[in-house]
């Protein structure tokens, strides 16, 4: 489904050049659950942002299915994100002024083909067990509940790919487990997931794991099933 070829990402500021990604080649198949691990600053999040098209590579090709995303302009990329991707962040990134239901509905806000929004939002909240908090505001919820709401927002549009950036990083063990179970469940239902994590046990819940160091993929392993 996804093919990255020789992807590079360089940052240039004040005459200092930093290379965050070195010639990354990566293939992610449909239905896969891929975990990315590595120490801080190794390029995990940059890779995830590149996959999510919120960061543009400075070199290489990014094919999503048959589409070369490098050819798309900002407006087309925005539309692509709205229709194809779902994001989950470590710090949830819910909008404080909106209720949980409205935050989840935001996942459909920029799509013309959203269909019955209310029903889809209700279904997404139901799926992550947050429906009873629909009319609450983010600050009224626990971290685990907020992350579940963020997952509901990510899946409400039935994305082809879910990108999760340390989804359990801000949660305690119990809530972390709960979130991981939801992600595994989604994967079992066919969702493709790419997740950045620091937790070996959570990485073990993925089907495949890659390790990164200094902007390069240094190891790749499949989980025994």
């Amino acid at each position: 489904m996804i093919r990255l070829q020789n992807i590079q990402r360089r940052y240039v500021s004040d005459e200092v050049e930093t290379t965050a990604l070195h010639d990354i080649d990566l293939h992610v198949a449909e239905g896969e659950f891929l975990a990315i691990m590595g120490p801080s600053g190794c390029g995990k999040s940059t890779l995830l942002n590149t996959l999510g098209t919120v960061d543009r590579p400075t070199g290489g090709r990014y094919l999503f299915g048959d589409r070369d995303l490098a050819a798309l302009d900002e407006k087309a990329l925005a539309k692509f994100r709205g229709q194809t991707l779902g994001f989950v962040f470590q710090s949830f990134n819910l909008i404080d002024e909106l209720t949980i239901e409205e935050n989840v509905a935001l996942g459909l806000a920029y799509r013309a083909d959203a269909g019955n929004r209310r029903a889809r939002v209700a279904a997404a909240m139901d799926k992550v067990g947050i429906a009873h908090r629909a009319h609450h505001f983010p600050h009224q919820l626990s971290g685990g509940q907020q992350q579940r709401a963020a997952i509901a927002r990510a899946i409400v549009g039935d994305p082809k790919l879910i990108l999760a950036d340390e989804p359990t990083g801000n949660l305690d063990t119990a809530n972390g487990e709960q979130v991981m179970n939801i992600l595994s469940g989604l994967n079992a239902e066919g969702a493709t997931i790419v997740m950045v994590t620091h937790s070996p046990s959570h990485a073990d819940m993925a089907k495949r794991r890659i390790d990164m160091l200094d902007g390069r993929i240094v190891a790749s392993a499949m989980r025994d099933i």
Binding site: S45, G52, V54, K75, N93, I95, D96, E97, L98
Partner: protein
């Protein structure tokens, strides 16, 4: 889009109530102040514009160019016979005179005189002023020497519900005459200086008492002319010098057009035009209030934009999230603009409501009847919503939508526009506080000058004094006025009753004489002439600077018999007249004779008697004495005891001796108070506007202070971890706020200096523009800023470093 924006707004305001109140409330207040002052300015600018064909109507002004220049200026009247002479020389000329106006006559009923706004006008009045008639034919009524037209409210006052048409009405202007009501016209609106409740035909020839009917240089009537266009008016005006030469030569000698010119003033400009020696203070006041309105709104807008852009930085994460979820830049820009415009619309609506609620109070306090013209106000507000909304929304819309979503989401802090954003906000605060400080300076000067005027030495004691201008009424004959003065003098509690052609109140107009000075070439200075009777100086008690006052024992003191003037007469001059006549000191003037062929010997010099508006410059005046009551006298009663009791006695005496003439009598204090009314009104409106503008600026600073402090909490945590004390932190934050406030003085000082210098120039007696006002205002502004930011700073300085470090 609008629905989403509205929901977003509602939630933001519900969650951040203080922010909503500060931001929307400040803007709403600014809009309300601007609206109210704008209405007042519009009202002042609308005078006579309600008249049909007002663009074709002109007032003839008499412009004096006398030697010395003390009385020179354009006066809004002409001699009564001017229009007759003009029509003889310019056949087909369309125009009318208005003689009288405010309290121009009295309706006599049951032995009592009811003062009313009676105006005598020419039959062509309706060709110039097309007043709406309720009933009757205005033109035909005025062609009839016994016809009278009355206004709708005069009809109600005089006849109640009965039909007035055809009813007789006895009206005294020069002498009582019975008229027949021939029609009713609609009441004149508020925005007019024409005071007309009853219209009567102009007498066909000069009434006996009107000795100055054909006297050049007098200004007893208003003469209005109508021309098809401005070019025709200009052409007519160009013919005036030759007309004056032709007509006034006999009276004013060769080259009369050097002393008097006639000019045309469009009717719509009369209201704000300076009259005679006045400065253009009315225009200045209206302009000032217009500027206050604009500046208050500007401060409020700056405030709003400042806070809105500052806070929008906090929404960077939201914007990034929306981008991640598929929103493109155009969608985000539209969302921000819609939100900003909605906010401004809410503020505009709140401002409109505030103005509606405040208007009755403003109207009651200032004797106005302003209303919001929605047909004009709504489109203007809509434009404001678009402009301010776009200004406030565009910056965050462009800035935030341009940020990289990945960068924002990865960053711990919210971007706020970086250094450029901070500089912009600081510049805006500087500008805002510059204007606010200028307002503080202006308010201080205004208050000081108003107090100064109230306290200033008028040259006489203002308490224990009643002034009776109605003694000058044309219908009171000399015998009667003598009897009245005697009767007033005999009332218990009365110390002295003086009568003079001048008295407290009035407009300062009167007879002006050109007094030759021996040994000085040319005509000599123009000096006002005041004729005074016995006890005039006793009633007012002026300070005698040199010489003596009038005394019946000196025969030459009595100038009552004008036929003996060529033999010489004694006069008392005031200080300014002594200076104008060229004497180095009051003592030097005493005993000197001036006046050429009509010699006048100065027997005494008194200090100024300031009878008129504080805006009237000190006039050079000489006083001449008559043992009798002088012509057109204003009586001054110096008394002891309760003014109300004394006023009742005056009323009874007057009714007994002169029932056919309405009594006009007031304490000097009250009469002087009326002279300050226009200034007080303007000062009050200015004070309200300026006070609210300062409040808005403070509220804005508070909002910005709390926002900036909140943004720096992490920095404060780091500094405290590194050893900074709470007072170090407070100092750090305060200095940040004081810098723009201190810089603001660079804007405020010159702005306030030039504005207040111009304003003070309108007063004859004025305070000095001392640096104390400027320094004090800057201190006040700095204190306000410190107090505003102090609470936030102290709270931030006390925060535990561990908490602050994790604050986002």
């Amino acid at each position: 889009m609008i629905g989403q924006a509205a929901l977003g707004l509602y939630r933001t305001f519900a969650r951040h109530r203080a922010y909503a109140v500060v931001n929307i409330g400040g803007l709403a207040l600014g809009i309300a102040v601007c609206l109210m002052l704008g209405l007042y300015v519009r009202f002042e600018l609308s005078f006579e514009r309600w008249l049909p064909h007002h663009r074709e109507l002109y007032l003839v002004q008499t412009e004096l160019h006398l030697p010395g220049g003390a009385f020179n200026g354009a006066y809004p009247g002409t001699m009564a016979g001017l229009f007759e002479e003009m029509r003889q020389d310019f056949p087909g000329l369309v125009g009318t005179r208005i003689r009288g106006g405010k309290d121009g006559g009295a309706v006599l009923r049951g032995g009592e005189a009811l003062p009313m706004d009676v105006a005598q006008v020419d039959p062509s009045f309706f060709d110039v002023f097309a007043l709406s008639m309720v009933t009757g034919d205005g033109r035909r009524a005025l062609a009839d020497p016994d016809g009278a037209l009355i206004s709708r409210s005069a009809a109600r006052t005089l006849f109640g519900a009965a039909d007035p048409v055809g009813q007789p009405l006895t009206i005294a202007v020069d002498a009582p005459q019975t008229y027949r009501v021939a029609g009713i016209f609609e009441d004149l609106p508020d925005n007019t200086d024409l005071r007309i409740a009853i219209l009567l035909p102009m007498p066909r020839k000069a009434p006996p008492a009107e000795w100055a009917w054909y006297r050049w240089g007098t200004a007893s009537v208003s003469t209005f002319l109508r021309f098809p266009n401005a070019a025709a008016a200009r052409r007519f005006e160009a013919k005036m010098p030759s007309f004056v030469r032709r007509r006034a030569g006999q009276e004013l000698g060769p080259e009369p057009d050097k002393a008097i010119t006639l000019s045309l003033l469009p009717v719509s400009r009369i209201h704000l035009e300076p009259q005679g020696t006045e400065t253009a203070w009315r225009r200045l006041t209206v302009t000032t209030l217009g500027i206050v309105a604009a500046m208050t709104l500007l401060i409020a807008i700056v405030n709003y934009v400042n806070l809105a852009t500052a806070r929008s930085g906090l929404r960077a994460r939201e914007v990034a999230m929306r981008k991640v979820l598929g929103a493109d830049r155009g969608t985000l820009i539209r969302q921000f603009l819609a939100e900003a415009m909605l906010t401004v619309a809410v503020a505009a609506l709140a401002g409109l409501i505030m103005a509606e609620l405040a208007l009755p109070l403003i109207n009651a306090a200032n004797g106005l009847s302003l209303g919001i013209p929605y047909a004009l106000a709504l489109p203007v507000l809509a434009l404001l919503v678009l402009l301010v909304g776009a200004t406030a929304g565009m910056y965050p819309a462009l800035l935030l939508s341009s940020l990289s979503a990945a960068g924002v989401l990865a960053s711990a802090r919210s971007p706020g526009g970086g250094r450029a954003g901070t500089r912009l906000r600081e510049a805006l605060v500087t500008m805002q506080f510059g204007m606010a400080t200028a307002f503080i300076i202006a308010t201080a000067v205004l208050v000081a000058q108003t107090a100064h005027v109230r306290r200033s030495d008028l040259g006489f004691r203002r308490d224990g004094l009643i002034v009776v201008p109605s003694l000058a009424d044309k219908r009171i004959f000399p015998d009667q006025s003598r009897a009245i003065v005697t009767a007033l003098r005999d009332m218990p509690g009365v110390v002295a009753v003086g009568a003079g052609s001048v008295g407290v109140g009035g407009d300062g107009a009167g007879m002006v004489d050109v007094v030759e000075v021996p040994g000085r070439p040319g005509l000599g200075p123009s000096i006002k002439v005041a004729s005074v009777g016995p006890d005039f100086f006793r009633a007012y008690g002026p300070r005698l600077l040199a010489g003596r006052l009038f005394d019946d024992r000196h025969r030459a003191d009595d100038a009552g018999e004008w036929t003996r003037w060529k033999d010489g007469r004694n006069i008392v001059v005031n200080r300014v007249a002594a200076e104008a006549l060229g004497f180095a000191s009051p003592a030097e003037a005493v005993g000197k004779t001036v006046g050429g062929s009509l010699p006048r010997t100065i027997i005494g010099v008194i200090d100024q008697l300031r009878f008129f508006s504080p805006r009237t410059p000190d006039q050079a005046t000489y006083f001449q004495y008559t043992r009798d009551v002088p012509p057109t006298p204003v009586a001054a009663i110096r008394f002891t005891g309760d003014p109300n009791v004394m006023m009742n006695r005056v009323r009874q005496t007057w009714r007994r001796l002169s029932p056919q003439v309405p009594l006009i009598a007031e304490t000097a204090d009250r009469r002087l108070g009326r002279l300050y009314q226009a200034d007080d009104q303007a000062a009050r409106l200015f004070g309200i506007g300026a006070g609210l503008a300062i409040l808005i600026a403070c509220v804005g600073l508070w909002g910005l202070a709390s926002f900036n402090t909140a943004r720096r909490i992490r920095e404060i945590g780091i500094r405290k971890t590194l050893g900074a004390s709470a007072s170090d932190i407070v100092r750090l934050l305060l200095v940040q706020f004081l810098r723009p406030v201190l810089l603001a003085n660079l804007i405020a000082w010159p702005l306030a200096y030039f504005a207040m210098r111009t304003w003070l120039a309108g007063f004859g007696d004025r305070i000095a523009l001392s640096p104390v006002y400027f320094l004090a205002a800057s201190l006040v502004a700095a204190a306000i800023a410190v107090l505003t930011a102090l609470g936030q700073s102290v709270r931030a300085s006390r925060a535990a470093p561990a908490w602050a470090l994790h604050h986002d």
